[in-house]
């Protein structure tokens, strides 16, 4: 495994879930919950003759960013595409529950200065959603994570980090969208139905999943950033995400709420206006939308490095926040 310093420079897309968990919090502060040594694999996979993982494809634990305890959930795409099964889901749920408990503890112990020690949850998504081998348990896990996110609302920030190879799709696409803050890299992808499934259901003319450039233009970080589905766009390094997390941690909690894209009547209305716009605009490609938001030469944005992109890209203006 790479050292923390090496990890900061390493490409986020090249690291595994455990490395990402270590690298997203301050140096030397990460402690894993139920590590592979505790051997907690899925009880369902052996019944189906499938290989198991002792961490069930997700790393959870706690670290610090500054004074703030950060509860990390980091999914591993190389284990069944990061799909969420019963144990995997339970680990996610428990991490958020612990964060909420820490919130109560901190508030009690530091009634006057709890905000500078406010816990946070960081979820590094790399998943296609429900693990079909254990679909009911997996679906239930999705609902439970959603519940926890709702319980955390207004208390502690839940931050989505999306930059791994598999992206964040399926039911977990909803979960990602329901967090307070979304940080993505250009390589990160966020969506509901995966490209292959869209092609299978609606045909190649609707969406050609083999055209990766199209897939990335539609679901990738740059598009999500322009659309304000992602709040921040960072370089594809562990350090890039870590530094952005540090910045977010400096913000007063009241500011965090403004990053939300859904979760109130006003926000839903704003989203519905986008649906209307999609129909009116009749866009054939995400670049048509980029142009609509004032990017004169959208094709240029595609090949642009992240620094330059952040300088020149024009984004949708938010009504709220």
């Amino acid at each position: 495994m790479l050292s923390w310093d090496e990890l900061q420079k390493a490409k986020f897309t090249e690291t595994n879930a455990r490395e990402r968990a270590f690298g997203l919090v301050d140096k030397g502060t990460f402690t894993e919950f139920v590590s592979p040594r505790d051997r907690m694999p899925s009880p369902h996979l052996p019944v189906l003759g499938e290989a198991i993982g002792y961490d069930d494809g997700v790393v959870t634990g706690i670290g610090l960013i500054g004074k703030r305890p950060v509860f990390v959930v980091s999914q591993e795409g190389r284990f069944i595409g990061g799909a969420v099964g019963e144990v995997h889901g339970a680990k996610m749920v428990q991490a958020i529950k612990l964060a909420l408990k820490a919130y109560e503890d901190v508030k009690e112990k530091y009634p006057d200065s709890y905000e500078e020690r406010l816990p946070a949850v960081v979820i590094s998504f790399e998943t296609g959603g429900v693990r079909l081998h254990e679909s009911n348990a997996g679906l239930l896990a999705h609902a439970e994570v959603m519940d926890q996110i709702q319980d955390a609302r207004g208390k502690i920030p839940i931050i989505a980090v999306i930059g791994s190879k598999v992206g964040c799709f399926g039911g977990m696409g909803f979960v990602g969208a329901a967090t307070d803050v979304v940080i993505m890299s250009e390589q990160g992808r966020l969506g509901l139905t995966g490209p292959e499934v869209i092609e299978q259901e609606m045909g190649k003319d609707e969406f050609d999943a083999s055209n990766k450039a199209l897939v990335f233009r539609t679901t990738g970080g740059k598009h999500k950033y322009i659309m304000q589905d992602a709040n921040f766009l960072v370089k594809d390094t562990v350090g890039g995400f870590y530094q952005q997390l540090q910045e977010v941690m400096k913000l007063p909690f009241a500011e965090i709420e403004k990053f939300r894209r859904i979760g109130s009547k006003e926000l839903v209305e704003e989203q519905l206006e986008l649906v209307k716009l999609a129909v009116e605009l009749g866009a054939k490609d995400s670049m048509d939308v980029w142009k609509y938001y004032g990017n004169e030469d959208p094709a240029k944005l595609v090949d642009m490095g992240p620094e330059e992109f952040l300088k020149v890209a024009k984004r949708r203006e938010r009504k709220l926040g």
Binding site: L2, A10, T13, E186, K212, A213, G220, K222
Partner: protein, 555 residues
């Protein structure tokens, strides 16, 4: 003395007669309108003709293939198709419609399953499955095409063809056809006033047709570095240290899989660290693999001759004329036949992945229900018995050859390095090592005379798995070969039969080497070894000259 009067130019007269029938379809020069193509084919092709339809694993005469499917099967039937590749749906539709009857080919790729069905159901009479050179050879013996349907980028009205970057098989097909009084029809993307360079001269071409859309090219040789696994990196390191460095291999052909892509991407990193620059990998018979860019840019490569082109590599290749074969017009000229000849006779090594290996060490990519064919691999993956020039790598491998004395007595002779790589388990935990190759089942299902074997056991010199390298050629007999296979077959049924003392003996004698024996630190065997980790980094290495097709752009 009375001489019997005989006619010696029947072929020519026959062709002239056919040409007369279609003269009215010709516009200016040799140009025929796209909408008249079916009529043209019905006019020049007679039942029972041998017809060549150009297409290989890259460019395809797809428009002509579709038009051939449209001819009236009452007028044109029982054709004998002789062609490199069966890869388009239309290639088999002509059999479905009763237009064609017999097939001699080399490689089938995506149509392999349907082809097996056709053979089994008697819809198609299979001549033979060839290697490229073997099939090309037969174009000049018993499989001379009467009509060739070829493809080029551009033509002028007189019929000069520009095949450019993707010249591939065109010259060898046209020469066989035209010089045996046959008829050559070319589909082109564009008819121009002047072609950038003449790849096929006008008097070898009878008709040119501007097709309604550009011909199809498959980017078959692009491997996304993002998909290379840590195991493939490990096996690449083993190959570099245990084979490339050990033999000082200077000339080679690489397969198209991820194993060799990993090796290509480790030339500027791991091989550089081993001090191998200049000592290995100077000459290649190879398509313009995008994964070669970092090695070329780092000054590793002197020369690459290409079988075909590769989509997106046009500008990069054109800008590196010290390395590639570039015409006076500034673009690459590929040529499959010449590159295959180089691969067979001028290369010291062939290295590539395989699918299945039997307990004797025969290696095959055949599966039970797909007639996939061979392409060029068996030519390059075989010891050329006609080779007479020597090189260090070739000689060393020959000196180590365990059966040399029995075959030649005391006579030095080299041996080509033929290296096959495979992980012990494939996708879905299918074992790569098997008691009997699926090729046997395929032979039965598709009524073949012999099981289609990619590389025979007596040609393979090295097998590499994640467990180790078997220096297979060092074995003195089949018994020892089988032990060497078992020693590197891991936890497969074959591997579990390995006896520890036997394996230890093979390791002592250097017939089997594990990563540890090779002094490779396994903890370093991960993707950080790769000079480029994704397609975008290849673009950066190329200084923006590589222009990957949309399907490979992960951004």
């Amino acid at each position: 003395m009375e001489r019997e009067v005989r006619v010696w130019d029947n072929l020519k007269r026959d062709t002239e007669e056919r040409m007369k029938k279609v003269a009215h379809l010709v516009e200016e020069g040799k140009v025929v309108k796209a909408e008249n193509t079916v009529a043209l084919l019905e006019g020049v092709i007679k039942p029972g003709d041998k017809v060549n339809l150009e297409g290989n694993n890259q460019k395809q005469a797809d428009f002509l293939a579709e038009c051939l499917c449209e001819v009236d099967p009452k007028k044109v039937y029982d054709l004998h198709m002789v062609q490199s590749v069966v890869s388009l749906k239309s290639h088999l539709d002509v059999f479905e419609k009763g237009i064609a009857k017999k097939l001699d080919f080399s490689f089938s790729g995506p149509q392999a399953g349907r082809l097996a069905d056709f053979v089994r159901d008697g819809k198609l009479e299979l001549g033979a499955i060839h290697t490229y050179l073997e099939l090309f050879g037969r174009y000049y013996a018993d499989l001379v095409p009467k009509v060739a349907l070829v493809v080029a980028f551009e033509a002028d009205k007189e019929g000069n063809l520009y095949t450019g970057f993707n010249t591939e098989d065109t010259p060898i097909i046209v020469e066989a056809t035209k010089f045996k009084q046959g008829i050559v029809i070319a589909q082109v993307n564009k008819i121009v006033d002047k072609v950038p360079r003449v790849d096929i001269p006008a008097d070898w071409v009878d008709f040119v047709i501007q097709s309604p859309k550009n011909f199809y090219i498959e980017p078959l040789f692009t491997r996304d570095p993002g998909l290379i696994t840590d195991t493939q990196v490990l096996m690449g390191m083993m190959a570099l240290k245990g084979v490339y460095a050990e033999y000082g291999v200077q000339s080679m052909n690489h397969g198209i899989g991820f194993f060799t892509a990993a090796i290509e991407l480790m030339l500027p990193t791991y091989a550089e660290e081993l001090g191998l620059k200049g000592k290995i990998c100077s000459y290649f018979a190879l398509n313009p693999h995008p994964t070669m860019i970092p090695a070329i840019e780092s000054g590793w490569v002197k020369n690459i001759h290409c079988f075909g082109g590769e989509l997106g590599m046009e500008e990069y290749v054109a800008a590196r004329s010290d390395v590639f074969f570039i015409g006076p017009d500034g673009t690459l000229r590929s040529n499959r036949a010449y590159s295959q000849a180089a691969g067979l006779y001028a290369m010291d090594m062939f290295i590539g992945g395989t699918l299945q290996i039997d307990k004797y060490g025969n290696s095959s990519t055949a599966t039970a229900n797909r007639v996939a064919g061979f392409g060029g691999a068996p030519n390059m993956g075989s010891d050329a018995k006609g080779r007479r020039h020597s090189s260090d790598a070739w000689l060393k491998c020959g000196l180590e050859y365990g059966m040399q004395d029995q075959l030649l007595g005391k006579m030095p002779r080299g041996k080509k390095l033929v290296v096959q790589m495979q992980e012990t388990f494939k996708e879905k935990m299918d074992p790569a090592f098997v008691d009997e190759l699926d090729a046997w089942k395929l032979a039965k299902n598709a009524n073949l005379d012999i099981p289609p074997v990619m590389v025979y056991s007596d040609d393979v010199t090295h097998y590499i798995t994640e467990e180790g390298i078997a220096y297979f050629h060092k074995c003195v007999d089949m018994k020892e070969k089988m032990a060497a296979i078992r020693a590197i077959a891991g936890y497969t049924e074959i591997g579990l039969q390995a006896k520890e003392e036997e394996t230890m003996d093979l390791r002592k004698r250097g017939i089997v080497k594990t990563p540890e024996d090779l002094g490779i630190d396994i903890t370093r065997a991960n993707r950080s070894m790769l000079a480029a980790k994704n397609i975008k980094e290849l673009v950066e290495w190329s200084g923006g000259l590589y222009n990957p097709p949309a399907r490979f752009r992960n951004w």
